[in-house]
Amino acid sequence: MARTLKVFKNEQHSTAFFALLPSFAVFLVFTLYPLLYSLSISFTDAGLLKQGSTFIGLSNYVKLFKDPTFWKAMLNTLIYTVAVVPVANALSFMLALALNRKLALTPIYRTAFFMPVVASTASVATVWFLFYDPFYGGFNALMAKIGISGPAWLSDPSWALAGIIIMAIWKNLGYSMVIYLAGLQDIPKDIYDAAALDGAYGQRLTRYITIPLMGRIFSFTMIISTIRSFQVFSQVRIMTGGGPTNSTLVAVYYIYRQAFESPYRLGYASAAAWVVFLVLGILAVLEARTMRRIEQ
């Protein structure tokens, strides 16, 4: 038995301390330190290729608010989020309802819908990039069969963001679906039996019993998927590089460009990152409050 250190009240405390130490160390080095560091350099003119930095106060923030490209990126991110979150969640809830039955092929379908979540965004984006090709891609070939001439997708500024959104919905379906399935299976069978005797069937059952009982799960998935949507990056980087004409430029990609493309303005990128962080924080809190109100 290990000797208990005197700083701890009892052995339980010391066990907890040492068990938490590794993850706390990782949090300290890779989350808290960079977070505070980025905040501190957001007030400087720090650069990736530059030695030393000068304190410039709120200049980065002022410049940021005056940059129309930043606002374009924020708007695109917002459009992306508003399109992806409700549609993906509604579809995955419907999928979960359909797959919450014991049918022969249910496990296969569940796996099929979850596979895109597991696949790396980079490889999925590459495949979709090919699908979207206006001349050789699968989409327009399919549309041509029913007599529609498809758009130029990723190279058309009015369609590129839609292309990114459609792929994101498809890729994220399985994630929320799994959470919804777990939530559905958590509803006691007795309640469904009682509802069957009360005359709640099919859509009425979903409307009056299932959906209200899933309230907390909805809150959780909505908030998580809003956060995930705000962080969209890989598919933009691979499929469009933010173009054409910034039509798919999103917040995180904007930050990346400021920091890692010429003129490598780390301080400015950090300021942008903090603004995005704060906007997302406010959005998530507002969303959580609204969901709680609906729940009640």
Partner: protein
């Protein structure tokens, strides 16, 4: 006439037979109790009447109409579940009103019915609460209220009192009986608790392994159990069951367990002359064994010397757990003034006119 009839109903889950060839008749306005140990098929039977499970064989009739293919909601029945199954997101009022809303009943009538049921159950001041803010007993009343407002032809109750504490259970038992008389409904009540069955049932159906063992009025099952299982299940504490053989002696038949010899009065058991040597089980209820000091004298009593292992004074009576000669364990319900004490010898007197004999090979009562 809301009678329920089951004809040859069988239900299997995989290879397990939950209910086998069940024939049952629930009369109009009767409170019938289905009782039996866990897994005896009583809940399955109830769920089949509700339409939540379909029988594999046989048919169910309510008011003479076959229920084949009739959805639960169209059977005009209400069910009270063991875990209450209240809708957690609705307040008490809406929990009770939900079924009526689904029937598209006018709001005014819904309100009248909910208020009436709430009054019967004494939950008028709880109508705005959510289930999580209710105690077990209150939830139980709401679950009952949800059934009452529907004014169904048949009530099905699945162990509705099993989650309540002992005191509340006794109270609700009486209340349920009262409500039954007041609303005059047909009730099928499932329980594993024989006390509940005895006190509430107008008729009891005792099941085991998906098969009815005996049905009848409570006292009929108590006085004349048809087999060893019924004898041991009904009554609390359980009937003493002692293995032995029938031996014919010069002054009539007697029961011989090797250590105990008890003469079997002819006026209770008839002539047992032809059964000499038969393996039997003698059954005597604890309440028919008295401390010899307080027992009346009589020819049809057997006197038994034993050592007291446990003495449990209950106030109105005392339970004695004793070991008789040869290690036979016996339970007796005796006069509270008994002087029996732990480890001390005690003499007991059993009333043989109330004893039972069972054929050990078949388990059936010997008449």
């Amino acid at each position: 006439m809301a009678e329920v009839i089951l004809k040859g109903v069988t239900k299997k889950f995989g290879k397990t037979v939950a209910v086998s060839g069940l024939d049952l008749e629930v009369k109009d306005k009767e409170l019938l109790v289905l009782v039996g140990p866990s897994g005896c098929g009583k809940t399955t039977t109830l769920r089949m009447i509700a339409g939540l499970d379909d029988p594999d064989e046989g048919e169910i009739f309510i008011e003479g109409k076959s229920m084949k293919g009739v959805e639960p909601k169209d059977r005009d029945i209400a069910m009270v579940f063991q875990n209450y199954a209240l809708y957690p997101h609705m307040d008490v009022y809406n929990n009770m009103a939900f079924g009526l809303k689904m029937q598209k009943m006018p709001a005014a009538e819904i309100e009248a019915r909910v208020k009436e049921a709430a009054k019967i159950l004494g939950i008028e001041d709880l109508l705005e609460r959510k289930p999580k803010a209710l105690s077990g007993g209150q939830k139980q009343r709401v679950a009952l209220g949800r059934a009452i407002v529907r004014k169904p032809r048949v009530f099905l109750m699945d162990e509705p009192l099993s989650n309540l504490d002992a005191k509340l259970r006794v109270q609700m038992r009486a209340e349920l009986s009262r409500i039954h008389k007041r609303i005059g409904a047909t009730i099928v009540y499932v329980t594993h608790d024989q006390t509940e069955a005895m006190t509430m049932g107008e008729r009891i159906v005792l099941m085991k392994d998906g098969i009815i063992q005996q049905q009848g009025e409570p006292m009929q099952l108590y006085d004349d159990p048809v087999n060893i299982f019924v004898a041991g299940f009904i009554g609390s504490p359980s009937m003493n069951l002692i293995d032995g053989k029938i031996r014919n002696t010069y002054d009539g038949a007697c029961f011989d367990s090797g250590d105990l010899t008890i003469s079997l009065p002819e006026k209770r058991f008839g002539s047992l002359a032809s059964r000499d040597g038969l393996d039997v089980v003698l059954g005597i209820r604890p309440e028919h064994i008295e401390d010899a000091e307080f027992a009346p004298m009589g020819a049809d009593r057997a006197v038994l010397g034993a050592t007291a292992d446990v003495v449990e004074p209950m106030g109105s009576e005392t339970l004695l757990y004793v070991t008789a000669k040869g290690g036979t364990q016996v339970t007796a319900k005796v006069n509270p003034s008994t002087k029996a004490a732990f480890g001390k010898p005690v003499t007991l007197s059993a009333d043989l006119t109330k004893a039972h004999l069972f054929d050990r090979a078949t388990g059936l009562a010997m008449k």
